[in-house]
Every structure is written in structure tokens, then in C-alpha cells.
Symmetry: C2
Subunit: 659 residues, 2 copies
């Protein structure tokens, strides 16, 4: 793909031409194929989005569909309930006078419309799309985003705008983690206690769920529900303690307790699940039904003599066998209600039929094992958005690598794709978009584009451009930032705070700690700098690139040094500017050491540059002092990392080489 196009995900085939198709207020788009209400709604949405993107009212309707500027032809409308593996390909041909989008199904046409939107840009002659021919189809059939709505609840509007974002990136599965210890989020009419006692009142009604599933279907997205069992089920047990392996009582909500596990030895458990799954199978039309199955705490089974007796009586070796027994029983129930069961790695067991799908949080080797045993699988490992990794790190995770690299073609076919996971312990409706976007775009590209599309530099360039365009969909991953900083500052002027917050990132992996308020209440405020800070600092990324350019000693060296000095001077002076605010707001007090160290690091960076300019290496003692600051900055404080520490360390290393 030519670098002038900012398409994401990169299409399978792009052939550029010369010239462009102007888009002015006479622009029209219409379907010339068989009538399809879903596609028509998609075209209406496309025109709305094009109008928003350009700021031009687009109200002209073509007298005749075939004379529209963009004609769209889908050979079939696609399945009423979207199926895994439906044809999603499309061809988009743009000439200087006209554009044609053709696709075997409406799904492909919807994807093609998103590609068209990404091509629109202002030129000297007006808004335009380039002359181009694009033949596109996804690499993987399952391109999902998993959202946990149990740990924190997200209103429908938040989820819907994220569906819009997914559609823009051609993702096609929303995996909805609807129950966990902390909350049960679906209205059950058969067992209303589930939502009444299993949640804090925040749950989705069945009418909302139907509306949401239709909204997703309109955008080419399947909705796969997950009800996690037998572990991660405290919220169920708050409503139905009889299902539990230990006496309880149980209480939903955010408390540090994952002892709640269903009792697989009692018939009542399966009777209940049969009725429950019957109801949910009617509510969620997708063919797949996720039963979780991860991280079953052994304690309640170990300490229940009746359960241990059951294990012995049935000739099982251990709790693992007991869970396999549970899963077999469960699979029969799920299949009875015409659904295909799926679950996390832990459910894999030879006694389960091979139509079960395994979602692997363990990695490509585990995934390869799944496939070799004849099961289908998808990869979640490496795509956990809550771990706050940089986009490039997710981008580099290849489902067909590691153990999966040596699979036979037939085994490879059983790798369906992957899912990004947004676990919600530390996110709220205010911050969720910023934790999903724009990094999800990199993962979406991994799932859609050819395997050889791997250049992180190109990815970042395109991701930066896609990111602001996603704002037109109402996503708040850019707009959330300044208001959160102002809340902490309690004032309009946040210039100095922003200098600091622009170069920190939330701590990675599972290192985040929470300060619970006293007295304890339902939900910890997530209103600190660690919540406002972006998962990936673009300032730190650019600064790091500048340091590399500078140290390469090439033609760009002096320009890079000038830029480095501007940044370093600003940071060096910043703590003095920021200190009064840090003293004034309880929300910022914890960030003082970071602010001090940013100025200290900047001073070290400037000293290093001076020394390098003069070719006078600095002393080991100086080096040791500065590296102490680097070490501190690389460890979490206030749940934050100072991301300019590593590049500044490179300057220190260069100016005071180890002897």
C-alpha cells in the first residue's frame, strides 16, 4: 500500500492510479443491487459520517441509483443472524468520475464503505478520494473485542460508540463478559434475583440487549455473550447460594474475594443452568455461547467433604477432572439449546466434543495444542488492553507464531482469529475509550491484514491519523483527557500538569494498586493521574525517536539535538511551575516525586548533551547518580511510569559510558 494512504487495517490488495474523485455537496451514494434494509441503513450512516467528517450537509438524493457518485452492489444481504465465516470481502474501484463498491454480501459492502470514508481528505481542489482499486478480504474470520461489564458497568451509549469504532476498523465480534464475581449484568425474567441481588442495580434489560444486538448486526458485528462459570460466579451465588460449593453468604460487588464457585456435584446446579441457558439462548441469537471456565479457585472444592467424596466416588483424579465433568454436563445443556460452547483455556479436555471453541489467554503454544487436538481456537493472549502495553507490542503478537507456526494447513484453519480484551477493574465510562482506542486499531489490523503487514512505524503513522477520525463517532479517547486533568487541578490552567501527564503512562501488566477510600464504599474513584494518563505517551515515543536519531550521528543529528533541548529545557523547568498545584490538590500530591524526577532527568539529559557536544565524557559518579533517578522512574509510583527515563538513560550512557 502506498504510504500516502492512511488505511487501517491495510487492505489485502491496493492498486493506485492517478487523479482523484472530488466529493462536493452533489455527492450521492446508492445501492444498485437487490433491496436490503441493513445495507440501506449502512449507506445512510455512511452519508451521515461523510457529512460529519467533511462538515458538508449531504442531502442530494440521486434521481436514479445507478447515477449515484458511489454505487454499491451486494450480491446477497447476508445471514439474518451473522455467521462465523460469512464472506466479508469487497472490491472498491474509484475513478475520477465515479466509484463502485461490489461485494458478495452486505457485510463486505459495509467494510468497503469504511474504507471509502478513510480515503476522504481535503485537497487543494476540494474534498476528494484518490483513484484506486482495492480488493480486500480479512485474514481471520473472528476479529473480536471482549468487554468486561461486570467489574465496572458501562451504559449502552458507551458500548454503542465502541461498536461504531469496531465497525470502522472492520472488527466483527463483541464478546460481552456479562457476569463475574462483582456483578451480574443481564436481566433474567426467569431468575430476576440474578440481577436484583447479583448487581448494584446496573444491568441491561432484555429490551436493551435486543436493541444492542440489532445495532451490532447492522454494523456487521456478532455479539457473543459470556456467563462465567463455575468460578468467577460470586454475583450469581449472592442470588442463589444453593448453587455454591461453600455455605456463603455471598455478596456481589467490588470486594477482594474470589472464593465463590458453583457446586458441580449437585443436580440442582444443572437444572438451574438448563433453565437459565434456555432463556439466554433465546435472548442472544449468535451461534456461540461462552461459558468462561477460567481460574476456578480450588479452595471451596477442597474444603467441602461432600465434593471431595464425589470426586473419589466418580474415580476422578482431582479438581481439574471435576471441572471437566462440569464442562461436559454444561456442553450438553448448551448444545441442547442449539449453541456451540466456547470457553477459556481451562475448559480444554479430551472428553469435550471438537466443535467446542477454546479462547486462549495462555498463548500461541496453548493455541497450537488446541488446534492439534482438533479443536478450533482463538488468541486472546497478547491482546489484553488493560495491561497498558504500547500498540506496537500488541501489533507484534502473531497468532500463527510460536507453536502455531508449525501447524499443518488443516490445523491452521482451526485458528479462527483473536480477541482484544478490555478487563474493567480499573476503567470507568469516562476512561474506557482511552484504554481501547487507538491501540485496538493495531490489533484490528493484525486480525484483518495479510500476515506480512508488520511495520510498526507505518502502523503508528496510520494509527495517529485514524485516531482523531474516530472522534467523529463520539469516542472520547481524546476528549476525556483535559477535563480529567482540570478536575484534578481544580482550575483552567493545566499547562504544567499537562507537561508531566504527557510523558507518564499507567503502570503495566498487573502492577496497579488501588487506594481504597475510607470508609469503604461501593466503588473506588478512578480520578487520579494514572487514570487520566494515556496508555501510550506519544510525546515519549517521539522523544525516544529523536534520541535515537541524535545518537546515530547522521545528517539529522543537529536538528534532533535542537528539538531534544527544547523538550529537556521545558521538563527541567516544569517542576517549579507544577509544585504549587501538587501541594494544593490531594489528587496530585502523590505525583510529586514523578514531577521532581522529570526535572532531574531533564537536567541530566541536558548535561549529557553538553558533554557530548564537547566530547568530554562525564564521570562514573555522575553516571551513578543519574541512573538512580532512571531506576526510580522505571518503577511504578502513584501507579505511573515516567516514560522518558529510558531514552534519557541512552543519553546518560552515551555521555558517561560504563568503564
Amino acid at each position: 500500500m502506498p504510504s500516502s494512504l492512511s488505511l487501517m487495517p491495510v487492505p489485502a490488495k491496493v492498486q493506485t492510479g492517478s487523479g482523484q474523485l472530488l466529493i462536493d455537496q452533489t455527492f450521492t451514494a446508492a445501492s444498485t443491487g437487490r433491496s436490503d434494509a441493513r445495507l440501506d441503513r449502512g449507506i445512510a450512516r455512511f452519508l451521515d459520517e461523510l457529512s460529519r467528517q467533511t462538515g458538508m450537509p449531504l442531502t442530494v438524493r440521486p434521481a436514479d441509483a445507478s447515477h449515484a457518485t458511489l454505487t454499491i452492489q451486494a450480491q446477497s444481504p447476508g445471514r439474518k443472524v451473522q455467521e462465523l465465516g460469512e464472506d466479508e470481502s469487497y472490491t472498491l474501484e474509484i475513478s475520477a468520475s465515479h466509484a463502485t463498491l461490489t461485494a458478495p454480501t452486505a457485510l463486505g459492502a459495509l467494510h468497503g464503505l469504511q474504507t471509502f470514508l478513510q480515503l476522504v481528505a481535503p485537497t487543494s481542489a476540494g474534498f476528494a478520494v484518490p483513484v484506486v482499486t482495492i480488493d480486500d478480504a480479512p485474514r481471520f474470520a473472528w476479529r473480536g473485542l471482549h468487554i468486561d461489564v461486570s467489574r465496572h458497568f458501562f451504559p449502552m451509549e458507551v458500548l454503542k460508540r465502541n461498536l461504531d469504532g469496531m465497525a470502522a476498523l472492520k472488527m466483527n465480534v463483541l464478546h460481552w463478559h456479562l457476569s463475574d464475581d462483582e456483578g451480574f449484568r443481564v436481566e433474567s425474567k426467569r431468575f430476576p434475583k440474578l440481577q436484583e441481588l447479583g448487581s448494584d442495580g446496573s444491568y441491561y434489560t432484555q429490551a436493551e440487549i435486543r436493541d444492542f444486538v440489532a445495532y451490532a448486526h447492522d454494523r456487521g458485528i456478532r455479539v457473543v455473550p459470556e456467563f462465567d462459570m463455575p468460578g468467577h460466579s460470586r454475583s450469581w451465588l449472592a442470588a442463589f447460594p444453593d448453587l455454591a460449593s461453600a455455605p456463603g453468604p455471598y455478596k456481589a460487588g467490588r470486594i477482594a474475594n474470589w472464593d465463590a464457585v458453583m457446586d458441580p456435584t449437585r443436580e440442582g446446579t444443572y437444572k438451574f443452568l438448563d433453565k437459565f441457558i434456555d432463556e439466554m439462548a433465546g435472548l442472544f441469537p449468535d451461534a456461540y455461547f461462552h461459558i468462561g471456565g477460567d481460574e476456578v479457585n480450588p479452595k471451596p472444592w477442597d474444603s467441602n467433604p461432600k465434593i471431595q467424596e464425589f470426586i473419589r466416588a466418580h474415580g476422578m483424579k482431582d479438581n481439574r477432572d471435576l471441572q471437566a465433568y462440569f464442562n461436559q454436563r454444561l456442553q450438553k445443556i448448551v448444545a441442547k439449546h442449539r449453541k456451540i460452547m466456547m470457553g477459556w483455556d481451562e475448559i480444554l479436555h479430551p472428553d469435550l466434543p471438537t466443535n467446542v471453541v477454546i479462547e486462549s489467554w495462555r498463548g500461541q503454544d496453548s493455541l497450537a495444542d488446541v488446534s492439534k487436538r482438533g479443536y478450533r481456537g482463538l488468541l486472546a493472549y497478547g491482546y489484553y488492553l488493560d495491561l497498558m502495553w504500547p500498540a506496537a507490542r500488541h501489533y507484534a503478537v502473531e497468532p500463527m507464531s510460536g507453536g502455531a507456526a508449525s501447524l499443518t494447513p488443516e490445523e491452521q484453519q482451526r485458528i479462527l482469529g483473536g480477541e482484544a480484551c478490555m478487563w474493567s477493574e480499573h476503567i470507568t465510562p469516562e476512561t474506557i475509550d482511552s484504554r481501547i482506542w487507538p491501540r485496538l486499531a493495531a490489533i484490528a489490523e493484525r486480525f484483518w491484514s495479510p500476515q506480512n503487514v508488520t511495520d510498526p512505524k507505518s502502523m503508528y503513522q496510520r494509527m495517529d491519523e485514524i485516531s482523531w477520525r474516530l472522534g467523529w463517532l463520539g469516542l472520547t479517547h481524546e476528549s476525556y483527557y483535559v477535563p480529567m486533568l482540570r478536575r484534578m487541578a481544580g482550575r483552567e490552567d493545566i499547562a504544567a500538569l499537562r507537561v508531566l501527564s504527557d510523558v507518564v503512562e499507567p503502570t503495566k501488566d498487573y502492577t496497579r494498586t488501588e487506594v481504597f477510600p475510607q470508609p469503604p464504599v461501593k466503588s473506588t474513584p478512578l480520578n487520579r493521574l494514572a487514570d487520566a494518563a494515556r496508555p501510550e505517551s506519544t510525546v515519549a515515543r517521539s522523544f525516544s525517536d529523536l534520541v535515537d536519531t541524535y545518537l546515530q550521528n547522521g545528517a539529522q543529528k543537529s536538528a534532533a539535538e535542537a528539538q531534544l533541548r527544547i523538550w529537556l529545557n521545558k521538563w527541567q523547568q516544569n517542576h517549579a511551575n507544577l509544585q504549587p498545584l501538587l501541594d494544593q490538590s490531594f489528587l496530585l500530591a502523590e505525583d510529586k516525586p514523578l514531577s521532581e524526577d522529570l526535572s532531574a532527568l531533564a537536567a541530566a539529559g541536558l548535561q549529557a548533551l553538553d558533554a557530548l557536544d564537547k566530547s568530554l565524557p562525564l564521570a562514573a559518579e555522575w553516571r551513578a547518580q543519574q541512573l538512580a533517578v532512571v531506576v526510580r522512574s522505571n518503577s511504578p509510583r502513584a501507579n505511573l511510569l515516567l516514560m522518558v527515563a529510558p531514552p534519557i538513560q541512552k543519553l546518560i550512557d552515551a555521555a558517561a559510558p560504563e568503564r
Copy 2:
């Protein structure tokens, strides 16, 4: 009021104490007075807003209302249909342990809750409000915002968030300009052609209007509808050409034609209006009904012989008398349907009863005349937000000045207040908030606060703080800006564009011109820099203050000069950075001369500083050259003004004094 409090509007009486009331997650608020559903909803909204402002979930409910942290007591719930002049006063007493809000009516209590929200700030100990006692009541009973939804249509959500903003500033009237030449925006069930032929399909259904009126009432805001007649009525005549003074045909929409005027000589006109007003009187519960009455184009009456004959036959002098005859007939119809008629200056006529209210766009002298003749009036002159004046200019407009300053106390009583007017020729849903906010806050203060509250410096300090807090209500006056710049640039990096856009303002008064697209279509895109630029440049305001500080030659001089040089250097270099983008986007090409002149002005400013530093006056020829740039910059180009030209002119004048 102590300067540490950022209250807006300034309350009537503030008595500060020492200490503060902490607000943590145990905070509760409850009504201890008689049960009132509206107040209870107001308190629930208050808790939601407090939670959003602080980022703290607030879910604790007090066991007993009287033990809430904030107790609220309203002696009466207020009228079911809010009335002009209802008591809106309140008293808010905050101690270190508790807060009490008391008010004669729920209206006052709602205002008091807004005051409380403005007091909340982060401190070193936590979120807190200061210990304080506030006795507050409005100066004027009518504190309105007029929104024109005819020239551009605004969806309900846009209007609702503006009602939220009005409530935050204690405004109490939404004057809804529902019909004009360009569009008729209300569903009439009796005359559905009005919306069908009189609009482009964008209108409010009666269900939406009822919901909106209830939403406003919940926030202490009356909704006064305006149906403009007999002029400004092309949209009506598109549906009912028989009502017209000339044969037509008529067409609604944005075309340059204001020839459409109703025929006041035909009985059919009054029969129609009687039925129409009967329907609208039922839909809009407010006691007042605005009939417009402004700017009647004389042409259709002059050129219709039957109308001229009617004027002669009835012994009228001229068209003015004919309009007075129309208004008398109309007033009887309005009164028959139990409404009080109001209209713009032009309807003032001794034959109308004195309960008619006159809204003056002509000014305080006209308003004084209204009052002296026994009518009640309100001031719109000086508060037209579409004229793009700075907030301080609106703030300085005092209803009781000019001719109104010498009124007797009784006559003064008839000045009810005022209205800010948002005419919508050049605004869209994307930009309207930025044209209303934050400047409306200054006008709201003029209407609420004591007459002696006039310091623009204090106003600006507080307005800057209120402005970002209004963002919590969903108002987009800050968030609209960057996306619009990126749309024009077609890329993420808008640094250089922003440097320019931060120092320009849309042209003032009625000097804006439109570039209509070819071929002409329904609605001109409003997607240029003149649409994105803020009505008032805070950068230019600060720069101007710095120039004044510098030229005062006081202790701050050298600090001011250093700051001036930073700005001037940035601007001087900016055109080189921006030029490629200006060449690349058709939306920005027209801004090139402005960008060039910003750099030229900055160069002149730097030369002036250098000369002043050396006490070497610059030559008259240099002065003439630079002033030519200033003169250009003070005239609209691309519908923009370069706002740093006047302060830079001061530097030029100082460095090269006229001889």
C-alpha cells in the same frame, strides 16, 4: 465577594468564614421540606453532576434526610407552570460539618444547588466547599436566551445541553424562535402543511416539545415560543400562500428573499391564526406568547393595490398603521387563548393594551420609552451573541443605562430583564455551543447580579473557570475546536494551524459573507476557519494585557517583555510552518494572507521591542509600512480578524511615535 470564589453569577450577598466542609464519598444530600418531585429530581441531578465533577461515585443515601451532609428545604414547590416573578431567592449556609440550603420555593433551591456545585474544588485534604453564607436573589426576573432554530435546525440534545448550561448560570427563560423565512419548526396537527412544506423535514414533534418544556421546567426555565409574523413568514406562506400579501409561490429554505409578508387585510388570515394559536397555546404552557413582529418588508404591501386601498379606506396613514391594526387583531386572538402577547420593538403602538411586553433590539432609549408608556419591556440590544462581540462588551451593556437610567422607580419595575440572542444564520449543531458559551455567562451575570458588579477583569477570571466546568454538562464549546481544525487540515498534526486559529476571531456585527457552493444546495457548509475560530481569542486577550503591562514601564516590564518575545517569535516563524498546509487544503487557502500578516506583524513587534530596548525610535517610513499590515489585519479577510494587530500597533506606535 472574595476573589478566591469563582462564583458566576456573583451572588447578592456573600459572607465568608474560615475552614471548609470536606466532600468525600460519604457525602449525602436530601430534602427535609415537603415532598416535591421536581426538587427531588433536581437533587438527584445535583448528585450526578457532583459525581462527574469530582470523579467520585456518590451512592450513599442518608438513613434520615435530616442527617444528610447537605439538607435542602424549600417552603413551596413553586408553580406547576413557572411564572414570571416567582421567588427565586435562596440561602446557603456552609459550616465545617454541614450545609443547609433554604429557599421560599423549589426554584431558589435549584439555584442554590448550582451555587454549591461551583464552590466544590480539590484541596490538599480532599474535595471541599469553603465555610460561607450566601444570601442570594436575582436582580431581574426575566433572564433569557433566545435561540433561532429556523435558519439552522438544532436537535433536541443540543438544546437540552444548553438548558443545562442556562440552569448552571441561573437563567430562567428559553425564548424559542420557532419560525422564520427559512423554516417552520413545530409540528402542527391542525395545519400539518406548516411543517411539511414549511421545513426541510427538520422540525420538533409535539411530543418532543412537551418533553422539552418539562425538561426546562425541571431546571427552573420557562419556554416562551415565538412565531414571527406578519413578516419573516416565508415558511408559513410556502404552505399557505393564501395568507400572503403577494401571489407567490413561496419556498422555505435558505434563499436570499424576505419578501414574504402575511396579508393583514383579509379575514382569512385571522381565522387561520385563531386556530393556529389555539393549538399552540395548548402546546406551550407559558403565559407569554411571542409574535415577533420585527422587520416587516414594506414591498409586498406597497405593491398590492388591494392592501393600499384597505389602508386608505380605514383612514390609516401608512404600513406602520397597518401593522398596528394587525397586532391589535392578533393581540385579541392571543388574549382569547389566555396568553400575554409579546413582540419586538416594532409592535409598540398606543392602541395595544399595556400588558403587552416589548422586547427591544433597539436599545435602552427604546426600552425607556416602552416603560414610560406603561408597557413592560426587556432588553435584547447589546446581547446578540451572533455579532461575535467579546464578553466584556456584552457585560458592559446595562439595561438601566441611557434613557433607562432616569426612569422613576415605578417605571424601572417595568424593565423585566433581558435576553441574549443566538441568531443562527452562521451556526450549526457543531458550532452553536461555542457561539453561546462561555460568553453567555457574562450576560447571565449582568441579569442576575447586583448592578455594581461590573469589573471585567474579575468577570473574565471567573468566566474562564466556569467555562471548563460547563464541559461536564456535555456542552461542546471547548471540544468542538480541535476536530474542526483537523478536518480542515486533513491530518493529526495541526500545531501550526492552531497557532494562527488561536489569534483570529470571526468578523464582527453583520460583516460576514458566505461563499455559496456551486451548484447551490440546501445548506452552505460552515466548515472554515471562521467557523472554528472562537468568538473571543484568549491568547489575543492575554497578549494585549502583556503589551499594556510592558508599556506601563513598571516592575513587571521585563517579565512581560520576555513573554511577548516568546509569542512574537512563535508567530514570526509560524507562516513558514503553516504554508504547506495552506497550499494543500482548499478549506485553508483563503487564510494564507492572514498567516502571512501574522508573521509580518510579529516581525514588526520584535523590531519595535528591539528599538524600545535601545531607546532608538524607528523611522516614519518603517511605521507606515507596519501600519499598513495592521490596517489590513483589522479588516475582515476570510471572515476573520487578526486580533493581535491592535496590541502590536501599540508597540509600533511606541517604537515609532507619530511626529
